[in-house]
Amino acid sequence: MKQTYAIFQREFKSFFYSPVAYVILALFTALTGVFFYLYLSSFVQASFMDMIRSQQYRMAPQKLNVNLMLIRPYFWNIALISLFTLPTITMRLYSEEKRIGTVELLYTSPITPNQIIIGKFLAGLAFYIVLLLPTMFFQALLFVYGNPEFMPVLSGYIGLILLGSAFISAGLFISTTTENQIIAAIGGFALSLLLWVVGWGANFVGPGLKPILDYVSIINHFEDFAQGVIDTSHIAYYILFSFLGLYFSLKTIESVKWRA
């Protein structure tokens, strides 16, 4: 436990030593910010039109739903941006240790591969949560100026964090297989994208395969969270997925087997 924390702490801090992390943070914030602004302005415009219309025709205003029109598509948007961003976080998680030779320190220290992998996974997840903070700030503005429902926002973030864990465990696995960060990033992205689009393929295959592809698809399970529904089967999917990623990571670094 102490050792896992040591790995976590070093890894998490090391994000902030490297300029890459700040670039990622800036880009992620800029992209999610721009999209938030676009969604917000179109929502404001629609509400404004609605108000004018209601005055013209002397009807009660429709009261457009901010959760439906803004928050829900915005979560989808963040999920998509995460798909592109997370491989750049996971690429260095393990490849870097291999490249600079610090694996030699890790493997010869009294620490198990489990502890290494879990520490690194949690560090990646923690950094992802840091990335999400600005978007939380944006959404908080809605609560200041409006009156959205809170639960869908909460469930949306739970969904994002679960989705993020799945991506991070997949990326971490790719990162354990190579000492080249570029390959780790491309591989991590390819794997994540594949798991994302596999659901589209479901429409083109026979009825036997369709439910399987639908189930595997990483984004299908996100839908409910974005709508404010927390379904344990989706939680189970993401947790299972993350464990699988961690398991494969463990197997690659354990290719040398030591009996404890």
């Binding site: 070093r10 801090k13 090391s14 694996v103 030699e104 320190l105 890790l106 010869t108 220290s109 030591w258």
Partner: protein, 311 residues
């Protein structure tokens, strides 16, 4: 303290070491001597549980590398060939991290870090970023790391490589001070280094142990003959004539330097330094230099690998 039995390791088809067997006593410093690609690093990586051997076994401080690898790791400090440094960390943060990895208790952490910083004279740079240190200082940080948690066993893979002469001496002294309290294995391909720091040496060549003995025994075993180099001013004929009476000389080899100075290599049955000096001086030749040649690693290998089984 360390018992190595029949270690063999293949990398794919290639055999890196075969049937490596040796023993290290408690509190001694053992030198692992061998040329490039001999298998020193491979052997050390197996002993530190970085990777398993293809076959063979070893016990470190009573713990088997297969059965209780975690215990082996707990009592062993290791400086790999390339120091395993996170170059973007500060020296003290790095040592703090390693101390945690090695399970140093929280209340002892600070004093333990101070101790190794003191030992490796890193005080001045403890707040600096590792990546910005000179090669020698990086090597010291690597060494400091291996001393954390006061391990019984310390394994150092070419610890003085890339250091300047002053630093080499400092590091050697540091290693010598480990004697007694720690059991040390040290690899090198430089014979004098091993001679100065180790009491016993294992020589390894092309993956095989070719000798295991004390340094003194090894060098005396090689002293079937003596060699020295002279620098003499004068002409070749006169030098040859003056040395003729010394019957113990086997071969003389003249090499012309500038300004009528000759560099002469002398090989002899026994120590003839006094006779040679006397003869040359009495022949009125200018004796500029006389230095006994040490046997180099190459000589030892030639002897050990071309002659039939010395070991």
């Amino acid at each position: 303290m360390i018992d190595v039995k029949g270690l063999t390791r293949y990398y794919g088809e290639k055999r890196a070491i075969s049937d490596v067997t040796f023993h290290v006593n408690k509190g001694e410093i053992l030198g692992l001597l061998g040329p490039n690609a001999a298998g020193k690093t491979t052997t050390m990586r197996i002993l530190t549980c970085y990777m398993p051997p293809t076959s063979g076994s070893a016990t470190i401080g009573g713990f088997d590398i297969f059965e209780s690898s975690m215990d082996v790791r707990r009592i062993t400090g290791y400086l790999p060939e390339n120091p395993p440094l996170y170059t973007d960390m500060r020296v003290d943060d790095y040592l703090d991290f390693v101390a945690k990895l090695k399970g140093v208790e929280k209340d002892k952490q600070a004093s333990e870090i101070d101790r190794v910083i003191e030992k490796t004279s890193l005080g001045e740079v403890r707040k600096r970023i590792i990546g910005k240190l000179s090669k020698g200082y990086k090597q010291r940080v690597g060494l400091a790391q291996s001393l954390l948690n006061d391990p019984d066993i310390i394994i150092l893979d070419e610890p003085t490589v890339g250091l300047d002469p002053k630093q080499i001496i400092e590091i050697r002294d540091l290693i010598k001070n480990l004697r007694g309290e720690h059991t040390v294995i040290l690899s090198s391909h430089i014979l004098p280094e091993i001679e100065q720091t180790c009491e016993r040496v294992v020589i390894i060549n092309e993956g095989k142990v070719v000798a295991e003995d004390t340094v003194d025994n090894l060098t005396s075993r090689l002293k079937g003959g003596q060699r020295m180099t002279l620098l003499v001013e004068g002409n070749e004929e006169r030098v040859r004539k003056s040395l003729q009476p010394i019957t113990d000389i086997k071969t003389l080899n003249f090499e012309s330097q500038k300004d009528g100075i000759w560099q002469i290599s002398v090989e002899s049955e026994k120590d003839v330094r006094k006779e040679v000096a006397r003869q040359i001086v009495s022949a009125n030749l200018g004796l500029l230099e006389l230095s006994p040649d040490r046997f180099t690693l190459e000589d030892i290998f030639l002897q050990l690998t071309t002659k039939e089984e010395v070991a």
